[in-house]
């Protein structure tokens, strides 16, 4: 009798999960005891960037992985390179997040760096342990609200504590990235930025 009910539950549950999906949260948030509202600086793959934007805590969306069908995985950060057709291409590291608990009001913080046209994903490894100042000529920061045509452009700094990508197949790379950042958009400032991500092949998109 119990076996019958277990089978029935299983047969109903599978199609339900196939339609609705079942996600695992792969973001681990450990509150910083010394900075209210943001997470600690870590390099253990917590899949998170937190910072203050004009002194208000901001964090990236949770990384969700579907285990049966939809929803599609969601990632909090993407590393992309776009061809410009000139001698320099654009490398973008783009984080999607929100203020406090207002998950509906999302925005993107993006760091854009000018790189040589032959720059590959594994060339990123040379940035590990380095600080980069984005001051306009070599790159800049963008702050853009989702679905709203307002983009702020600013300067800032990035420190990559870890940045290791390895090839896992043709055009596929995975690894880890952690570090610190700050930015100044003139009308607003990003301070105390810290990020820590494991990077999967879907997050590295190089043209």
């Amino acid at each position: 009798m119990i076996q019958y009910y277990c089978k029935q539950i299983f047969y109903w549950l599978v199609p339900v999960l196939m339609v609705t999906g079942c996600g695992i949260n792969e973001t681990h948030y450990f509150a910083d005891a010394e900075n209210d509202g943001i997470a600690i600086f870590s390099n253990t793959g917590n899949n998170l960037l937190t910072c203050y934007i004009d002194a208000k805590p901001w964090r990236t969306i949770a990384r969700q992985q579907g285990i049966l069908g939809p929803p599609r995985p969601t990632y909090e950060v993407y590393i992309q390179k776009r061809l410009s057709g000139t001698g320099k291409d654009t490398l973008s590291i783009s984080w999607e997040g929100y203020f406090g608990t207002r998950d509906t009001l999302r925005r993107f913080i993006t760091a854009r760096l000018a790189v040589d046209s032959g720059f590959s994903a594994t060339d990123l490894n040379a940035l590990q342990g380095r600080r980069i100042s984005l001051e306009g000529s070599n790159g800049y920061f963008l702050d853009s609200a989702r679905n709203v045509y307002s983009v702020l452009m600013g300067t800032g700094h990035l420190y990559f504590h870890t940045l290791q990508l390895e090839s896992t197949g043709p055009g596929a790379f995975s690894g880890s990235m952690s570090g610190l950042m700050d930015a100044d958009f003139g009308t607003e400032k990003i301070t105390n930025g810290r990020f820590d991500h494991s990077i999967s092949p879907e997050q590295v998109q190089f043209q």
Binding site: D32, A33, I40, F41, T44, R131, H157, H161
Partner: protein, 211 residues
């Protein structure tokens, strides 16, 4: 439970009625930690021993373990290009605890001599607080993988051996005890330490207070 409770109370009253001698026992000692080799404490405790016969004593104990600070180095970083990328940070950990327990002193050898070897078994509540403090330039730098203060109150068990020597006016004893950490799941934080499993070396003196 309601039926059992009067029986338990009656059994305890019978036990205390049968007590031959009561001792008060101040204790002092030194404590290491099996789970974190760098954590050390100074112990102070007081316990009351209810001697039933020359084979068994019931003990109520309260113990405070005073932390000895453990200082180590950690790493802090900054994105600000006008400062050095790395700065050292000093981390101080103060691991302290308090416990209240009920226990048993079971004489294994030397029941009728001046030198006794006993087995100690205790159960009770323990409160552990592992305090973490950092000293670094907090305005410009960020600590990588910082530790945070952790605390827990829960039940624990301990066991050990005791050598006791009878004197004219009291009893001198030396104990070695090992205790479990407070019960519960692992710390929900990426700490570099665990809750303590103390190994203590104590000396105490039994002062008879009632016959």
């Amino acid at each position: 439970m309601k039926k059992i409770l009067p029986l338990v109370i009656a059994a305890n009253l019978l036990f205390f009625a049968a007590v031959a001698q009561v001792y008060i026992e101040p204790i002092a000692g030194y404590q290491l930690d099996i789970n974190n080799k760098d954590f050390k404490q100074i112990n102070s405790a007081v316990q009351i021993a209810f001697k039933k016969n020359n084979r068994y004593e019931f003990i109520l104990a309260a113990q405070v373990s005073w932390p000895l600070s453990y200082v180590s180095g950690d790493s802090a970083f900054t994105a600000n290009s006008s400062l050095p990328v790395y700065a050292p940070a000093e981390k101080t950990i103060l691991p302290g605890s308090f416990s209240f327990s009920a226990g048993h002193r079971i004489v294994l050898a030397g029941r009728n001599s001046a030198n006794k070897l006993s087995l100690l078994i205790n159960t009770g509540f323990t409160a552990q607080k592992i305090k973490v403090r950092y000293a670094y330039d907090k305005n410009n730098y960020t600590i990588l993988n910082p530790d945070q203060t952790q605390q827990r109150v829960n039940i624990y068990v301990s066991g050990g051996l005791e050598y006791m020597h009878l004197l004219k006016s009291g009893r001198l004893f030396f104990q070695i005890n090992i205790a479990s950490p407070p019960a519960g799941k692992q710390i929900k934080y990426p700490s570099s330490f665990k809750f303590m499993a103390p190994l203590n070396f104590n000396a105490g003196y039994s002062i008879p207070i009632k016959k």
